[in-house]
Each structure stands twice: as C-alpha cells, then as structure tokens.
Amino acid sequence: MIRKALWLSATSVFLTLFTVGGHAEDRVLNVFNWSDYIDSSIIDDFTKETGIKVVYDTFDSNEILETKLLAGGSGYDVVVPSGNFLARQIQAGVFQKLDKSKLPNISNMWDTVSERTAKYDPGNEYSVNYMWGTVGIGYNIKKVQAALGTDKIDSWDVFFNPDSLAKLKDCGVYVLDSPADIIPAALKYLGLDPNSTSSDDIAKAEEALLKVRPYIRKFHSSEYINALANGDICLAVGWSGDVFQARNRAVEAKQGVEIGYSVPKEGAQMWFDQMAIPADAPHVAEALEFINYMMKPEVIAKSSNYVLYANGNKASQQFVDKALLDDPSVYPDAETIKKLYTVSPYDPKTQRVITRTWTKIVTGQ
C-alpha cells in the first residue's frame, strides 16, 4: 500500500517536472474563481484570441481561498477574493502590485466602484473589480404578503423590529452566518456608524440582534439559497447574488415560488469581488493579459448578463441587458448607491470581539 503511494507520488512529481520543463512554450493560466461565476464561453474566447490555455478552478467560500493563499504556494495566477478578505491578504503580503501599463482597459472602470474598492486596496494597486453587490433582504413574496399583509419590503425594520419578525417566525427566517455582514447592518439600523469598532456600539448591535434572535431559525451562509428557492423559508438576510440565484432556481422549478430582493432604504453594505494576482503566481504575464481581457466592456457585460450581478465597468453598461441594468436590486439608482456603505476589515483584536459576540448571539453561550 505504502509502496504504491510512494510510487504514485513519485510519478506525479515526475509528471510535474515534465510539464514544467517540457512545455515551457505552451502558455498556461491558472484561474481560481467562485463557482457558477462566469459564462464559460468567455474562457473559450480568451483561449482562441490569445492561445493561452486556461485551467479554471472554483471555490465556494472566501475562507477556503484565504486558507490556500495563506498556506502559500497555491499555484494560482488569478484569484477573486472579496474586499475585506483582500485587504487583510494584501497586508499579509499575499498579492503583487499590478503592472498598470499592461492593463490599458483599466480606463473603462467605474469610478463609483473604484472609489469604494480603494478602501480595501488603497489606490487599487493590487486588484481590479470583477462583480459587486449588496447585503440585503431576500424574501418569498407570497408568504411575506400572507404574514405581514404587504409584499413591499424596503427597510431593515422588517428584520430588526421584533414585532414584525415574530410574524415571520413560523414560515422561517435565515440569516448569514457572517458577523462582518450582519453586525454592521445592525449598527446602521440603530443609526450608528457601521464601521464602528467601539465595544459600546458592538454591545448595542448585540442587544438589537438578541431581541430578534428567537425568531431566527438558522444562521448559515449558503443553505438559504435552496431554502428560499424551495419555498421552505420566507425571509433571508443574504448576499444579493445568492438571492438572485435562488430566484432563478425558483423560476426554473415552476413550483410557484416567487423571490424578491430588497436593498433596505437605510443603507446596505456593498461587497466587491476583486481579481488579483498572488505574489508567487507562476504566470504573471498571462494573468495580466487575462485581467485586461476581462475589463473589455463587451466581455464583462457578457459575464454580467450570465451571472446577473452588477460589474464595476462603466463602459460595459451599454452592453448589459436592459432588464438587468434597470433592475434596482442589481444596479441601484444613484440615490440608493449614495447610501450604500463599505466596512473596513477588523484588526485581529476587534475581530476576536466580533466573533465572540457573534457566537453569543447565535448559540446563546
């Protein structure tokens, strides 16, 4: 058994050496992106145009990506972390600065988005936006109508007001198991600074969340997609993209489940998925070529039309499907965009306080 294992690992080492040494002229690029996050024809077109073979690999949580990057030697050339994870990873020295002279298409980017991503990546030196969205309220239109007498949800009040959430308890409420997304929302609802790290403010957010805790069925960061789509729950505080995914699955299933998504009027957190190049990436030139290709207006518009998220490319908006561009839950109007906020990553000490507070809210311990 062990001899076989040794033999297998020896073979794989040999094969690796062989591929590295023997095919140096073949241009390869290793991309690590979120699952279901690109129209695969874009990859084919890129290969056709440049001759670069793309090895496309996917992940489903920032934590998995971060662990691979922090362990070092991931072998990836382009990765797509979210803003607050990106910021910490830049500090840890995970990424290399982008050579802007190789990225002429960067002039297409949308300043409204770039200004905000600069909070995570000062000067946008390490990353380029791929897609962005919000943290808001996904809901089952019919069930909410039955429980509350209205299907118009436009405020955090439906969630943070115990009287209103109590009415939704029986049909089911799910919340992201992610303190960095929910605690700032509570602070915003209370009229406090969502970026606050003061322990008094965090305690107030805890108090607000504990008041509605009895009416929350589960804290989970992915299960709500299925639960919403199947009509098992009536409300979820989640990421816009996931709720759209649930909405599409519900439409495909034809079981009469209709899903709505609302960006609360008090303001919601924006999230950004950013393309970046690891410091130890083996194919930097190819990675830059890929990022530049992804900033072509018609290419990124094709991606948006497929995954149904807003992108950070201003020039692409003329190629984005009209229905998507006019959907305020995807591309909010200028007025709403002003109210959207970003949250800076926590320092390790605050992070510990936040995680501990969160455990108390979720488990009661």
Binding site: E66, L69, L70, D232, V362
Partner: protein, 324 residues
C-alpha cells in the same frame, strides 16, 4: 496486519529447513518489513502531522504567510532555530481555560456523541443479530446492503435528510396524509435531527463489527441453554451479549470517536444554537484566522479522544487473546 506477519514468520522456518541460510535471512527480513510498514505509516500520517499541529499551537498569530510566528525557518542556522524555539509558549492553552465557551463545546460534543453512540447501538444490534442468524446464502447480500450507501457521497446523503425532515418534507407529508399528526413536526435544525443524521451515517460502522462478533458465535451454546431451561431473554444476556462484547466495544468506539469531531451533520441538520467543538474550531480557524489557537483546540480534542482509542486497543488485544 501484524498477525499475518507472525504467521509468515513462524511458518517459514518449518518450510525452509532444507533451504540455504540466505533464503532464511531473506524471509526474516521480509517478515520484519511487514511489521515496519504500519509504523512508517503512523510516523508519516499521524506523528509528523501531529508534531506540526502541536508546534503551531505554541506559536502566535501574525498577518503573514503562514499566518503565525515563528514559522521555524532553518535558514538561520542552529542558533537561529533555538531562538525561534524560545518564542514558543503555552498562551493559547491558557486562553482556552479562560472562556467557558471551549469547555462547553467539548462537553456538548462528548454528550451528543455519547447519546448518538447508544442510539446507534440500539438500532445496529438487532440488524447485526438478524444478519448473523440469517441463512448463510443470503448473508453476503445483506452485508452488501449495509455497505451500499457508501457508494453515494456522504454529503449528498446528509443533504437528502434535509429533504426528508424539513417542515414540508417527505416525513411530514406522509404523517399528515395518513392523519397521524395535524401540525407538521419541527425536526430539522434540532438535536433530534443531529441524532438521526449521526445514527444513519455511522450505522455501518456499528453493524459490521457487531456482525463479525455475532457471526463467529457458536449457537449450540444457546441450544444448550434452552435445553437446560433458560428463558431466551436471560440466554441473550448471559451468553450472546457477553460473547458479542468485543464487537460492541469496537462498534461504539468507531461511532463515538468520529462523532465527537463531527462538523457536517450538525452544520446541515442541527440548529444554529448547537455548539460543538468542530464548529468552534471552524470559527477560530476561518473566522478569527487564528491558526495557533485552533491548533490548540485540535490538540486538546486529540487528547480527549486518545483515552477511548487506548481502551479500544486493549479491547482488541483481549479479543485476539480470546480467539487463541
């Protein structure tokens, strides 16, 4: 594996009397090699990983690659290495004692695992007994049926239970349609769902050792007890159960040990209030990015499990002696 080595080693002198000293030495060497392999295996896949985890548990977090210091870099020569060793300390273990969270998580995990193990035994014993008493011709088929679920991904099987247990799921629909209940039962996201998930997932690990113990049993003993006027229940407790004890112990440990560290089943089927050590470790590792503290949690968990593992080994050794 080691018993196989003993038989080859003891058989070779008898058969090789006429052969050269050379061949005899070769046989002795191959006999030893067979014994060495499990040790090499343990060294590479248990001891070395454990030492690495233990070392990280003595480090401190840092925003770097890897995210802890010191990273034990040997380029600084022997003195540099020694200086790095001096930075190691037990702070993370002290931290674990200061917040009741960790203690509670360990206790909850052990309790959930213990209850699940007892339930698995209660469900598994009749199955194993039925299999062992079934006609020899259909036993392989029954054995196959126990193993069959392993052909589907564990994760998908646990997901399937969500579909069965949810308020509008198969179970509730069936019970409502047959008029047994009038309000859907809330089972999903409760402790009951975790127990169902663990019992279902680990049942084969209980049934197989029980079956192998019960199958070896000499049933003429039961007939003798019957002839002597012993009622079936007391024959079971006086003969069958004691003889199946090695299987019971093996089965219980095979269920208990992985159940303590279970993460997937409580995450998918349990409610958010369930605080098990697997989730606590996840929070430390991924939420706080504190590799050193999560390593300390893992080391304590390992120590917690070594006691039942040692009990298991002693039971195994005793069972082997009984076989002789």
């Amino acid at each position: 594996m080691s018993s196989a080595a003993v038989t080859t080693a003891s058989a070779s002198p008898a058969t090789s009397t006429g052969k050269s000293v050379h061949a005899r030495l070769g046989a002795a060497f191959s006999g030893r090699l067979v014994i060495i392999i499990p040790y090499v295996w343990l060294l590479f896949f248990f001891l070395i990983p454990f030492v690495i985890v233990f070392k990280i548990s003595l480090s401190q977090t840092a925003i770097a690659i890897p995210p802890y210091t010191p990273a034990l870099d040997i380029s600084g020569g022997f003195s540099g290495f020694l200086a790095q060793l001096k930075q190691l300390n037990l702070d993370n273990y002290t931290w674990l004692t200061q917040d009741a969270l960790y203690f509670n998580a360990y206790v909850t995990s052990v309790i959930i695992a213990a209850i699940s193990t007892v339930l698995t035994l209660l469900v598994g014993y009749p199955i194993a007994y039925g299999m062992a008493r079934a006609p020899a011709t259909i036993r392989p088929t029954l054995l196959m049926l126990v193993i069959l679920p392993f052909w589907t991904s564990f994760l998908i099987r646990v997901y399937a239970w969500i579909g069965i247990l949810k308020p509008e799921g198969l179970l509730n629909q069936l019970l409502l349609a047959t008029g047994v209940i009038h309000q859907p039962l809330i089972i999903l996201n409760t402790y009951t769902a975790i127990f169902i998930g663990i019992v279902y997932s680990y049942l084969p690990f209980m049934v197989l050792p029980l079956y192998s113990a019960l199958e070896k049993m000499d049933y003429s003993l039961i007939e003798a007890a019957k002839d002597l006027g012993c009622p079936p229940t007391s024959a079971f407790w006086k003969i069958t159960f004691p003889l199946s004890l090695p299987g019971v112990i093996a089965g219980c440990l095979l269920v208990f040990i992985p159940a303590v560290g279970e993460f997937v089943i409580p995450d998918l089927l349990g409610g958010s209030q369930t605080l098990m050590i697997g989730k606590t470790l996840w929070n430390e590792f991924f939420g706080n990015r504190d590799w050193p503290l999560s390593s300390a949690v893992a080391v304590i968990l390992l120590l917690l499990l070594i006691v039942p593992i040692m009990l298991f080994q002693r039971a195994q050794a005793r069972a082997q002696e009984m076989d002789r």
